[in-house]
């Protein structure tokens, strides 16, 4: 790994880079969302469509995002406005990239809050705080008490509890990010990812060795529940879209963070093989480990019917209400509970620090601020808006952000970047760019896939979700009576971020006297003569 010049950071090692990239991808969705989606969508049918989506959507988008990021890094641009402008010499390029600043900031804010639940439940598991609440309704009530929602008289937590865990989680995030790429994020990945895999493996083995439950169900029945092939459903568009959505979320594409990480590479560094390794590591965490813990454990203790009800009640109920009930019935349950929630915490924190990277890169590169100062400022902004989520969780404030930024926005950004990198940059240039410094040659069929299939796939998802969800959500058809002002405020904050970043991008371009039509000046390696830069 090499830095572009003396002023830009670089990854310390290739394995560290891959672990950081995989850490960015591996998140709560691997262990909570995947098994629920698989069980809900026909098991084997879902797996077939899931792997098709991995090939047609996941891997191509990984290469596209690594390619965009590394190309941006050549011009010292670790943020989407700069990366788009480096490819597309048009005044609109930088403003199109604003979405790549808004999404990671918005998702980072509410994701850190959810991440703080896992830290809190790690503590509650170690101290046995929820011990004795042996049914799922009791655990749901406990979770709601911690979140500060529902009947105040029924709460068992002090009102400041969620705020305290949010503050600690945020402080850890900011501290790691402020340490920089190699000393902060890469070190976290090198420590956190092996721990995550170790904890997940221990839990998967424990679950597989569980004796039969009250109705005779075993972990094998749980695996059967996920993988049983209901091939009659393979013709349903919903199954294809569910699997494409899962691939999309699990690889953390459309976020701006993969690109930011890749911007710290040079054209002599491989991205083709690294992209495959990152996706494969994430898939191992998801398919092998994620599918072997929560659902099989739920089936052992609640039977297939109970597990199905749990799965349909949502991923968070599975993680925060069902699993604690399971742990209470196991020997060393407190320790296993702590392992489960710290596993989720590590999965979360390796993702959340990645989301801050493009924001920090933008302020450092365009305004010359120090990393520590930007990290602290980002922490203050996250704290301020995070408080809104804690205070108004029950009014749908978080759900609104999760849909517009964390769901729909990701597909929009992925579609835009595919068009810009493949179509505007031109397919041949995109293909060559991905292969610069490559350790493997990607099968040429993927050039066709990236050019035609991936954008078409994204467009179908975008239109389908737009029709099915975006319009009803936009019209507030599913908002509970009385929550409309909170939902509206939630949207206004996102719009506020978009306006602020648009103005900041405009200011940055003026401050640095960038010419949209002329492009950026390439950053030269400090010790490399200029004549050797153009390969």
């Amino acid at each position: 790994m090499r830095a572009h010049d003396g002023s830009r950071e670089a990854w310390g090692t290739r394995i560290g880079l891959i672990l950081a990239m995989a850490g960015n991808a591996v998140g709560l969705g691997n262990f909570l969302r995947f098994p629920v989606q698989a069980a809900d969508n026909g098991g084997g049918s879902f797996m077939v469509t899931y792997f098709v989506a991995l090939l047609l959507l996941g891997l191509p988008l990984m290469w596209i995002e690594w390619g965009i990021g590394r190309n941006g890094g050549r011009f010292r641009k670790g943020h989407m406005p700069g990366m788009f402008a480096a490819i597309w010499r048009h005044p609109a390029a930088k403003y199109t990239g604003v979405i790549g600043l808004v999404i990671p900031l918005v998702v980072m804010i509410y994701y850190t809050y959810i991440e703080s639940w896992t830290l809190a439940f790690t503590w509650f598991s170690l101290t046995g705080d929820y011990w004795g609440r042996a049914t799922q309704p009791e655990m749901v009530a406990y979770l709601r008490s911690f979140q500060g929602i529902g009947d105040p008289a029924a709460r068992v937590h002090a009102p400041w509890t969620p705020y305290a865990f949010f503050a600690v989680t945020l402080a850890i995030n900011i501290w790691i990010v402020s340490k920089g790429i190699s000393a902060g994020i890469e070190r976290l990945a090198r420590i956190g990812m092996p721990i995550l895999f170790l904890f997940a493996t221990i839990l998967a083995v424990v679950v597989c060795l569980l004796p039969a439950g009250p109705d005779g169900s075993t972990a094998a029945d749980g695996l059967n529940f996920i993988y049983a092939p209901d091939l009659s459903r393979i013709g349903q568009p919903g199954v294809w879209l569910a699997s494409a959505g899962q691939i999309f979320f699990t690889l953390s594409v459309g976020m701006g963070s993969l690109q930011a990480y890749a911007s710290y590479l040079t054209t002599k560094d491989d991205i083709a093989l690294n992209g495959v390794a990152t996706a494969a590591t994430n898939e191992t965490a998801e398919v092998v480990l994620g599918g072997s813990i929560a659902i099989p454990a739920a089936v052992v203790f609640f039977g297939v019917g109970g597990a199905m009800a749990v799965a349909q009640s949502g991923a968070f109920n599975l993680g925060f209400a069902t699993m604690p009930v399971v742990f209470q019935q196991l020997p060393s349950g407190q320790l296993l509970g702590a392992l489960w929630f710290s596993l989720l915490f590590f999965a979360g924190i390796t993702s959340s620090v990645a989301m801050l990277t493009p924001i920090i890169a933008f302020f450092r590169e365009e305004f010359g601020f120090r990393r520590e100062a930007v990290s602290l400022a980002a922490g203050i902004v996250t704290a301020l808006f995070g408080l809104m989520h804690i205070a108004w969780l029950e009014h749908g404030f978080l759900d609104e952000w999760d849909y517009w930024a964390g769901t729909f926005g990701l597909v929009v950004l992925a579609f835009l970047e595919t068009i810009i990198f493949v179509w505007i940059f031109e397919p041949e240039n995109a293909w060559r760019s991905i292969h610069q410094g490559a350790d493997i040659r990607i099968p040429r069929v993927f050039k066709f896939v990236m050019t035609f299939v991936t954008p078409a796939y994204l467009l179908v998802i975008l239109l389908w979700w737009g029709w099915q969800d975006a319009l009803p959500i936009l019209r507030m058809e599913r908002v509970a009576p009385g929550d409309e002002p909170y939902v509206l405020l939630s949207r206004l904050v996102i719009v506020f971020f978009a306006v602020v970043f648009t103005l900041l991008v405009r200011a940055a371009w003026r401050r640095n006297a960038y010419d949209d039509r002329a492009g950026f000046v390439e950053a030269l390696p400090a010790a490399t003569p200029a004549k050797e830069v153009n390969l």
Partner: protein
């Protein structure tokens, strides 16, 4: 466990574990190789089109 579920599970696990083992195997092997083995330095830089 039904035979179909076993087939799908084994196939899924083999695919992701195989891909992981292959990619990391290549990385470890290439880690010992020199930069001279990289595939693309001789290719044109896309930026040159500008």
């Amino acid at each position: 466990v039904t035979p179909g579920a076993i087939v799908f599970m084994i196939a899924s696990w083999s695919l992701v574990l195989g891909l992981t083992a292959w990619s990391f195997g290549r990385i470890l092997r290439d880690g010992r190789a020199s930069d001279g083995e990289k595939t693309a330095p001789e290719e044109a830089d896309p930026a040159d089109r500008r």
